[in-house]
């Protein structure tokens, strides 16, 4: 520089690791952020990243951020569980009459076992006490590992195993790695809301997996002794409506193609709730102490304009059928 000394400007460097707690063998992002006075530009300078042993594991050029310059790389976390350290180095540089002395930063993270996410679904909303029923159990590893043949158990509130099984080879439709099984069980003999637990044991062979557990509930009811017949029709045309969802206390049903649903319930007083896509919901008391037939005249829900009250919106109503 024509014998002139370069202008030395200060730089600082920080290193962050994301996530701070990472699954064994999963991806880890190391991000270095360099800062310097506003008049200088570090973009393009290389950051080299190193593991705890000092081995370079990658490098990346600095790019402009809102408040400085950043560079990041993605690396694979170790398989062994524990604490790990990494460092980032910005080498001293000089050009165009300006220079900096470089900087170094360190950060640590911990490697943990893969998490297990349990799920249970299709549990009937009301099960006659002592009856057999089925539901689904699913398990997903936080890293999407293949969990086929992984075992699980279902325990009742006293800890007694009431069902067990192994996950199948297939994943649940619509998911990437939710392995599942259909579970057969027998409902408790007493009438109550029972809490059960689904449990999956952990594993330390190969990549470690943490154990998982999930609470689920089983509602048992007395044997039904009344029948309700509900017919859902369009309020204007009288055309049968398929797919109207009906809730009577703990019982649930959906109308079929003829607009009809038959429900067997325990004789009692309930609230009947009926709803369907773009229909005004219906909700009222239902006396099910005797056999009853209802026709629900479901009104179309007028398009919503969020700033307007519904105009001439008819409600859905019910007629008792003799």
């Amino acid at each position: 520089m024509n014998g002139q000394e370069a202008v030395l400007f200060p730089v600082s460097l920080s290193l962050s690791i994301s996530p701070q707690e990472v699954d064994a063998g999963a991806e880890l992002t190391l991000k270095a952020v360099a800062e310097c006075p506003e008049d200088y530009d570090l973009s393009g300078d290389q950051i080299s990243f190193h593991d705890a042993a000092g081995r370079e594991i990658g490098s990346a050029p600095l790019a402009v951020l809102e408040d400085g310059f950043g560079a990041e790389i993605i690396v694979t976390a170790p398989v062994e569980l524990g604490e790990y350290g990494y460092s980032a180095v910005l080498t001293a540089a000089e050009s165009d009459g300006v220079a900096h002395a470089g900087a170094r930063a360190e950060a640590r993270c911990s490697v943990k076992a893969h998490d297990a996410y349990l799920n249970a679904w299709d549990v009937p909303s009301a099960i006659t006490a002592g009856d057999a029923f089925s539901f689904h159990v699913g398990l997903k590893c936080s890293c999407g590992c293949n969990l086929a043949n992984r075992s699980f158990v279902v325990r009742d509130q006293a800890g007694t195993v009431v069902a067990s099984g192994r996950l199948g080879d297939a994943v649940w439709p619509g998911t990437s790695a939710l392995y599942f099984a259909e579970v057969q069980a027998v409902a408790p003999a007493d009438i109550s809301l029972h809490q059960w637990m689904v449990e999956s044991a952990g594993s330390n062979s190969g990549i470690a997996h943490a154990p998982g557990s999930l609470a689920m509930r089983v509602r048992t009811v007395a044997a039904p002794d009344r029948e309700i017949r509900i017919e859902a029709v369009d309020r204007e045309s009288g055309a049968p409506l398929k797919g109207i969802n009906l809730i009577v206390g703990p019982y649930r049903a959906t109308t079929g193609g003829d607009g009809v649903a038959q429900m067997r319930v325990v004789g009692d007083h309930y609230v009947l709730h009926a709803s369907g896509l773009q229909r005004m919901p219906y909700r009222d008391h239902l006396d099910a102490t005797r056999p009853i037939g209802l026709r629900l005249l479901m009104a179309v829900e007028l398009p919503q304009e969020h700033f307007m009250p519904p105009v001439n919106q008819k409600p859905s109503i019910a007629e008792v059928l003799e």
Binding site: V98, Y117, G174, T175, S275, E305, H306, F307
Partner: protein
């Protein structure tokens, strides 16, 4: 290689109230980057008025081309003025173009009279009048009285008309009928009068829809439109002619007494635009109002504007978006220009809901940046308070400052259309702005909330989700106050505002308030509430047949919809939304608690009456837009729509209307077009 910096990031950041972090996160795919980098600059020093080298001249400069701007421009031109319109977006129309088309004028306007006398329309398209004669018997005094009736209190306990500016409303009432006639003269056809639109008075029927007849060709003068231009050709296809978002595209107008017709604000927008272009009005698109220039400090007249080039580029092709019609356009691409106004400047730039620092002056909860406001349709600079701020800098006073507060149209509301950033941007593919919006959204209706929990940015529920459908506006409406007034309305009767009456009709909407509340994720300095999310499972999708596909959800994803195998994954994925800065920390816990409520049949947190468990994978998170429609409060104007300064004196040569002005709490086309008509008339008459 180290070097001195050529461009300071800080300068770029200063150009727009959006942080560079947001820009980097949003990415160029959102199309924001290009717009931001070409946003109005602030670094340039403002030359003294005498030193300005004017790039263009016109008698009247109209800023904005919505209901106020397009009407002011054509009206001023009709009166002999040479008019130049500048519009920050790529096409004409502003909010008018996607308004539902319900237009409330009155005072005995010719459409009221037509229906009162039971006459057919000139085209013979309409069925019999919908309202009784006495409901259509109107005059300017009745209209003025209605627009200042202190006694009207809506279901939110907001007095709709009490604080309207008397001076402004006098001028508005006197010009309402003339404005209807002006629009008719510029090819707008009207349905039968249906009711009175929000804020248009309580005692008479005053609102009709602007309509066109479906036909073989689109002919503005004949009032006909093709199915394609109406956006009716296919269910999932919209038209660049019609960006209408209120109601279905090309909504059939049978219910308005206009069978075979379609309607919307675009009818007015396109009709007046057509007439204005044909008459010789000049337009400069992609041109944002930065400054209003006044000579002689704060005592002189307005002599021009400074305006920036703000084009929008297609995120897919990189091409600049172009207006539907181009005759009369001036394609000026210089970054900053000065335009001299020989007579006047009309400010019709819209309100302030797109400007977070400005809107939080009215409601601090609106610090939340995810509350979008037609940014997709009208660009990131839409409703940025530019006209109001420019007016303030030359000494303008403000009117109606408090009128947004608490008003149902100006307060964000949870909406039942999910997976879209802004429900006002409800557009299908086919309109150029869809590329910015990305999704039409999924309308779940009232029943859909049975299957959904709504959570805040930390994953906690905050209300009975089913109540969302009951949070609609409580605006008082003709003739009985259909949103809850439980007895016939009597003008100026104190009982309209009695405690007993308000209590009997009050509808609470706690969900939206709770959604905007501070929570554990709120951070200094703004303590924003964060986005709110609808959480549901595959069982809900199966039961309701919701269309979980493009164009109802975005493809590629745009951060408004997420799907995951597990709730834990879903909780992390949502940070893909640029306004969601943290995972939904409590989501798993919240769902487990809700599922326990569903099993028990009782929601002890929020008393939700119907619940379905959220258990069947996959799981979904869809953004719940907090919709806000209007802003009230802006430049103070008198009955001539002339801007009043902070000392109470009119500013020579400066006019304003629509949401850029304050002092009248009326929604929509009626307010915008009448103020445009008055402003255009007055501006043209100056010498």
């Amino acid at each position: 290689m180290v070097k001195r910096r050529e461009t300071k990031v800080a300068e770029l950041r200063d150009q727009k109230a959006v942080s560079r972090r947001d820009l980097v996160k949003a990415g160029a795919a959102a199309g924001l980057g290009a717009a931001i980098l070409s946003a109005p600059g602030k670094a340039q020093a403002q030359p003294a008025p005498a030193d300005i080298r004017w790039d263009y001249e016109a008698d009247v400069i109209v800023c904005g081309s919505g209901g106020t701007g397009i009407v002011a421009a054509k009206r001023a031109h009709d009166l002999g003025a040479d008019v130049l319109v500048i519009e920050q977006n790529f096409d004409i129309g502003g909010k008018l173009a996607h308004n539902g088309g319900q237009s409330s004028f009155g005072g005995g306007d010719h459409v009221q009279e037509r229906d009162r006398l039971g006459r057919p329309d000139p085209d013979g398209w309409l069925t019999a009048p919908l309202l009784a004669k006495e409901d259509l018997t109107d005059d300017t005094e009745t209209l003025f009285r209605d627009m200042t009736d202190w006694s009207v209190v809506d279901n939110g306990a907001v007095a709709d008309y009490r604080y309207n500016s008397r001076a402004f409303q006098r001028g508005w009432a006197d010009n309402a009928a003339a404005t209807r006639q002006f629009l008719t003269d510029n090819h707008v056809r009207w349905s039968r009068i249906t009711t009175t639109h929000t804020g248009g008075g309580m005692t008479k029927g005053r609102a009709a829809y602007s309509i066109m007849k479906l036909g073989a060709k689109t002919d503005i003068e004949a009032g006909t439109i093709t199915q394609e231009d109406a956006g009716n050709l296919a269910e999932e296809r919209q038209s660049p002619f019609n960006p209408q978002t209120c109601g279905a595209p090309g909504a059939p107008a049978d219910a308005w007494g206009a069978p075979g017709c379609v309607g919307g604000g675009y009818v007015i927008s396109r009709s007046v635009e057509y007439a204005a272009r044909k008459a010789g009005v000049r337009f400069m698109m992609n041109r944002h109002l930065d400054e209003i220039i006044r000579e002689g400090g704060d005592s002189g007249r307005i002599i021009g504007v400074k305006a920036s080039y703000t084009p929008r580029f297609s995120p897919k092709t990189g091409n600049r978006l172009e207006s539907f019609w181009s005759n009369g356009n001036i394609d000026e691409r210089k970054q900053v220009i000065y335009i001299r106004a020989r007579r006047a400047v009309v400010v019709g730039t819209g309100g302030f809901m797109g400007n977070i620092p400005f809107r939080t002056q009215f409601d601090p909860r609106m610090s939340e940046p995810s509350m979008q406001y037609s940014t997709g349709l009208m660009g990131p600079l839409h409703e940025d308070a530019s006209g109001i701020l420019a007016g303030m800098k030359v000494g303008a006073g403000l009117g109606g400052l408090f009128q947004s507060y608490g008003h149902s149209l100006a307060t964000p509301k949870l909406n039942s259309i999910l997976a879209v950033s802004d429900v006002m941007d409800k557009v299908m593919p086919g309109h150029p702005a869809f590329e910015f919006i990305g999704s039409f959204g999924i309308n779940i209706g009232t029943a859909g909330w049975e299957y959904i929990i709504a959570v805040n940015q930390v994953g906690k529920r905050f209300h009975d989700e089913i109540s969302t459908g009951r949070e609609r506006s409580a605006e008082a409406k003709y003739p009985l106050g259909s949103a809850g007034t439980n007895r016939p309305f009597t003008p100026l009767d104190w009982r309209n505002a009695s405690v007993k009456h308000v209590r009997s009709s009050y509808i609470s909407g706690p969900g939206s308030d709770a959604a905007m509340a501070m929570n554990e994720g709120s951070r200094a300095p703004d303590y924003s509430s964060g986005p709110v999310w609808a959480i549901f499972d595959q069982a809900a999708v199966d039961a309701n047949k919701w269309p979980i596909r493009y164009p109802y959800i975005a493809d590629p994803p745009n951060g408004t919809f997420f799907k995951a195998d597990t709730l834990a994954e879903l909780a992390r994925l949502v940070v893909g939304n640029r306004f969601q800065h943290m995972p939904l920390k409590y989501l798993e816990e919240t769902v487990a608690r809700f599922n326990a409520f569903a099993d028990a049949g009782k929601d002890t947190d929020f008393e939700k009456p119907v619940m379905h468990k959220i258990a069947k994978a996959p799981f979904y998170a869809a953004l719940i837009p907090l919709a806000v429609n209007d802003s009230y409060g802006g430049l103070k104007i008198d009955g001539n729509c002339q801007v009043i300064d902070i000392y109470g004196k009119p500013i020579p040569g400066l006019y304003a209307g629509g949401e850029a002005s304050g002092g009248g709490r009326q929604h929509g086309i009626g307010r915008a077009c009448v103020t445009g008509y008055i402003a255009g008339t007055q501006a043209a008459r100056l010498t």
